[in-house]
């Protein structure tokens, strides 16, 4: 009985203690349910997002750049399909074996192999490594034949920049290439859209118009597993191609410019004198931008870099030259405008002028005798211009030169390599060289030597503004949304000059006329410096001014020797310049030509103008028809 009693007592203990445990269990279970509630109900959104972030991965593809077309809609920077070879590291079974196979198949260098290995260590295993960006068709076939053996290799067809006119537009367009880290960080849009394999503009318009040309990424969304392997594609979002940019340039004129300057160093610029459209802008020699697309080879690069004619320099915008006699129209205009002279003012040229014991020579040793303004311009008499420059003074000359665009950038922000050039005055010298102006310097400034430095495009703009009757124009290379027709341009020019006096560059339109006539005589009258390059047909007839700019001071001995061009070392030969506009009766186009170390302007530069005007004026009608952007189908 005692045992029984104890037994009952024991079971009481057990039951009582069980009750305590049971209560604890209910509390703990409630706690777990509360935790479940907080995770699944309260924080559901947060974890749902995390879960999607886990499983959905985006692959962005490089955007397609916008096309750049010439005035007539010809694609001058387009896109081509190219064959590439990618490795997807996560799919590769044996990386070293694969590399050995690819090395023999594609003749890859050890350096390239090392680069691939570096990339592999840097990138995530699902990011593809680009082995070759531009496979030739035969290489592509070869790889495809051995594909069974190359696990993890993917031949890809993609789109790459292409410049169909190769070197013709290099200095205008620049080129695209793989960006470096700095370039990616510099530009917000590039930073946002960058994917491996994307290229950005490195130079020229490709660089300055990057944000318009770039386009948007196509996006592919995949569901991936925990190891990053793609399970299935969820969606494909197409990217937008970058904006199409239409330039004012004419490929035919550009082509002729390239031909004329082949094997020479120099530049040709052609401009519409009313609209300011740059019709041609060629710097010679040029180079093929397509070489840079997939990384230029050392050999090609050295060839370009070491070329003595300096293809890397855009001479049209960054080449600084003494304008030589091409400045004379401005000197003459300035003298007329300041009432220093009238058109009948005469100077006797004896071949040289003495000033404070210094001798200033005219190019013609025997002298021109008594010359009027017109004859001085026609024969480019230096003595005449020494004299009127002396009377005028450099500061007044500077004012006129500045008005006509010397010493200022022509295309402004579009090219970061454009130079401003320099037109001196007394203040400039005092501020920059710390010495006072010397009268002798005024004299040589009057014939475009000395401190004056101009770019070929500035000379072209200067000539255009003389040709259009002395109105300021805004040069442009990109056709904007409402391109001006000729009539509109002419009308607005006169209208604008009434509203904004500073677009009128003259006081008396008679003076412009006098200078125009003088330029006409220089080309179309006997003894004119470019008489031999004239065209008599009034449809093509043009007026111009030659220039020969000294590269170094001519010593007395050299002057006596009077060497032929071929006898002078290339580096010491004069630059040949020519500025002109036409047709004379109803002017429309202005141009400037410079041939580096080409000798005299009349022999080396002026004949090119003849060829150019024929073509430009023949294409005039076509160009007018094309003025409406919308009509062009590209």
């Amino acid at each position: 009985m005692i045992k029984e009693n104890l037994g009952i007592r024991k079971s009481d203990v057990i039951n009582r203690r069980m009750f305590i445990v049971g209560a604890a269990k209910i509390i703990i279970f409630t706690g777990i349910v509360a935790r479940l509630f907080s995770l699944q109900i309260n924080e559901n959104k947060k974890y749902l997002t995390l879960s999607d972030k886990n499983r959905i991965r985006e692959w962005r593809l490089p955007p397609t750049r916008g096309n750049i077309v010439d005035y007539f809609g010809n694609i001058i920077a387009g896109n081509l399909k190219v064959y590439q070879l990618h490795i997807i590291p996560e799919q590769v079974e044996n990386f070293n074996y694969l590399l050995v196979r690819l090395k023999t198949l594609l003749n890859l260098s050890d350096k390239k192999i090392q680069k691939i290995v570096d990339l592999k260590n840097k990138l995530k295993p699902w990011d593809s490594i680009i082995v070759s960006e531009n496979l030739s068709w035969s290489q592509f076939l070869k790889v495809n034949n051995y594909l069974y053996d190359l696990v993890g290799v993917k031949p890809v067809m993609t789109i790459s920049r292409n410049y169909p006119y190769s070197e013709m537009y290099t200095h205008v367009l620049g080129y695209v290439s793989q960006p470096n880290e700095e370039e990616i960080l510099e530009n917000e849009i590039v930073k946002e859209r960058f994917v491996p394999g994307m290229k950005i503009g490195k130079l020229g318009l490709e660089k300055t118009l990057e944000n318009q040309l770039i386009g948007t990424n196509a996006i592919q969304r995949y569901e991936v597993n925990a190891y990053g392997k793609r399970i299935n594609q969820l969606e494909h979002q197409k990217g937008l191609q970058g904006s199409k940019i239409r330039l004012t340039l004419d490929t035919e004129v550009q082509k002729l410019s390239a031909q004329l300057l082949s094997n020479k160093a120099g530049s040709i610029s052609v401009m519409d004198i009313y609209t300011g459209d740059v019709i041609a802008m060629y710097s010679s020699p040029s180079y093929d931008p397509n070489l840079f697309l997939f990384g230029i080879s050392q050999d090609d690069w050295q060839l370009i870099r070491n070329n003595p004619l300096k293809p890397l320099i855009n001479k049209t915008l960054s080449g600084l030259y003494s304008p030589g006699s091409t400045i004379k129209p401005i000197v003459a205009l300035s003298a007329l405008e300041n009432n220093i002279i009238n058109q009948n003012f005469k100077v006797k040229c004896t071949g040289k002028t003495e000033l404070y014991g210094q001798t200033f020579h005219c190019w013609k040793e025997k002298g021109h005798g008594f010359v009027s303004l017109k004859n001085a311009m026609k024969q480019s008499c230096d003595t005449y211009f020494y004299e009127i420059a002396r009377l005028l003074g450099v500061d007044r000359l500077n004012v006129t030169a500045k008005k006509f665009g010397l010493g200022e950038k022509v295309l402004g922000e579009y090219f970061d390599n454009e130079k401003r050039g320099l037109f001196p005055n007394t203040n400039w010298k005092k501020n920059n060289l710390g010495r006072g102006w010397v009268l002798g310097e005024t004299l040589i400034t009057g014939i475009g030597q000395g401190y004056t430095q101009t770019t070929p495009l500035q000379l072209c703009l200067m000539t255009a503004q003389i040709a259009n009757g002395g109105y300021k124009i805004k040069p442009k290379i990109i056709v904007n949304d409402d391109p001006l027709t000729l009539k509109d341009a002419k009308n607005s020019m006169e209208l604008q000059s009434l509203q904004k006096p500073n677009t009128r560059l003259f006081n008396d339109s008679k003076n412009i006329k006098i200078v125009q006539e003088a330029m006409f005589s220089s080309t179309n009258e006997q003894f004119g410096t470019s008489y031999r390059s004239r065209i008599d047909n009034p449809k093509y007839q043009f007026a111009g001014k030659t220039g020969t700019s000294q590269v170094k001071r001519i010593s007395k001995r050299e002057r006596e020797l009077d060497l032929k061009l071929e006898q002078i070392p290339y580096k010491d030969r004069d630059h040949a310049l020519y500025v002109a506009y036409g047709p004379y009766k109803n002017p429309r186009y202005a141009l400037s030509i410079i041939v580096e170390h080409g000798g005299s302007g009349s022999k080396a530069a002026a004949p090119m103008a003849k060829e150019l005007f024929k073509l430009i004026i023949d294409r005039d009608e076509l160009r007018d028809k094309q003025s409406n952007f919308e009509n062009i189908n590209i």
Partner: protein, 374 residues
């Protein structure tokens, strides 16, 4: 005397069927079906290795449970110590000749399947201590000798299991043992004192932990300190559960598990997959099912006449409860990651074998509830 004999006399087969606890049985069957469905989902919606293997284990162990149920619980009382000793021997065997896997040595190869004796120890310790407290006089429960004896019964297997090393299972064995001590009437102050002692010695215990075990505790405290390394499991588990929401992503549609973000989704993290696919409603449903099972077991214990049955049922109910709580707290990020399976749901033979044996004994206790054990 006569009365006792009639009470202790064997029931006929039909009487046994009549006395079976069908609520518990149905709940176990329901749980088994759910576990098969979830296993099917972990196989990616196909009947592959894990599903087949889990099914075959159920097919063997469920009948085993019924078989045990028809056995008189008296025999378990009789052989409790022996059973305990047998498992100790198995643990001894494993510590010398056991199979090694991922750094621990816990398994023995039985040709048909691989047995983990430490799982069986969870049952054996309850049986052993239940018998001990069934037999001991109430006055002696708190005697020094008794306390030392029961503590050694608990500590001996734990030493083996910890050295495997398997912290999770040894903690569960200790909990299962201690609950019997509690139910058996060991004074509350002993529990309080030892709890205080435990807290004080905690820093020393931690210094004895293996580096990976310390890492787990650190990771538990801050899962984001190494999100791709040690914290990965718990972060992914929380993401899976949290993203399940109210209704879940749907059967076979759990992206976290389907795309392999979940680690050990067949075993310790099975609840994560279940919760991702069936949401809050499903999870609470599963918890309710477990709660019913636990409640039924306690009820059987309460109805049982013998203290052995009582102690076993209460102890087993508690250990089932503890397995669930430890497992769920782990996957919910409430406890550090210790390997502990979810009863029946998790893939793994030994755990299921132990649980089914336990259920069998409980069912037997129900059938023989009016019996006293001398």
């Amino acid at each position: 005397m006569f009365q006792r004999d009639t009470l202790n006399s064997e029931l006929s087969f039909f009487q046994k069927i009549k006395e079976m606890d069908y609520t518990l049985l149905i709940c176990i069957i329901l749980l088994s079906i759910i576990s098969l469905l979830v296993m099917y989902s972990t196989d990616g919606g196909e009947i592959l290795f894990h599903t087949k293997s889990h099914f075959s284990k159920l097919a063997v162990f469920f009948p085993l449970m019924i078989f045990i149920a028809f056995f008189n619980i008296r025999y378990w009382h009789t052989f409790a110590y022996l059973f305990y000793l047998l498992i100790i021997l198995l643990l001894l065997y494993v510590s010398f000749f056991g199979l090694k896997s991922s750094g621990s040595q816990r398994w023995m190869d039985l040709y048909l399947f691989v047995l983990q004796p430490s799982e069986l120890m969870k049952i054996a310790i309850i049986l052993c201590l239940a018998k001990y407290y069934h037999r001991i006089k109430v006055e002696n429960v708190n005697s020094m000798i008794s306390i030392i004896l029961v503590l050694s019964i608990i500590i001996i297997p734990i030493i083996f299991v910890i050295s495997q090393p398997d912290l999770g299972t040894s903690v569960l064995i200790a909990m299962s043992g201690l609950i019997i001590l509690w139910l058996g009437g060991v004074k509350v102050k002993y529990f309080v004192y030892s709890f205080i002692t435990f807290l004080i010695s905690l820093p020393f215990i931690i210094s004895f932990l293996k580096p990976y075990q310390k890492l787990r505790i650190l990771t538990f405290l801050d899962p984001d300190r190494d999100p791709l390394g040690a914290g990965y499991q718990i972060i992914q588990s929380k993401i899976a559960i949290g993203s399940g929401g109210l209704e879940g992503k749907g059967f076979l549609k759990g992206t976290q598990s389907y795309l392999d973000f979940l680690p050990e989704k067949h075993t310790d993290f099975i609840f994560t997959l279940f919760s991702e696919e069936f949401g809050f409603i499903g999870s609470v449903g599963l918890l309710i099912l477990y709660a019913i099972i636990i409640f039924r077991i306690i009820r059987i214990g309460a109805l049982s006449r013998s203290n052995f049955s009582k102690l076993f049922c209460f102890g087993f109910a508690f250990s089932i409860f503890i397995y669930i709580v430890v497992n769920l707290s782990m996957v919910l990020g409430l406890l550090p990651i210790v390997g502990s399976p979810l009863p029946i749901m998790s893939y793994g033979g030994s755990s299921m074998l132990a649980t089914m044996i336990g259920f069998g004994i409980v069912l037997s206790a129900k059938i023989n509830r009016k019996q006293t054990i001398a």
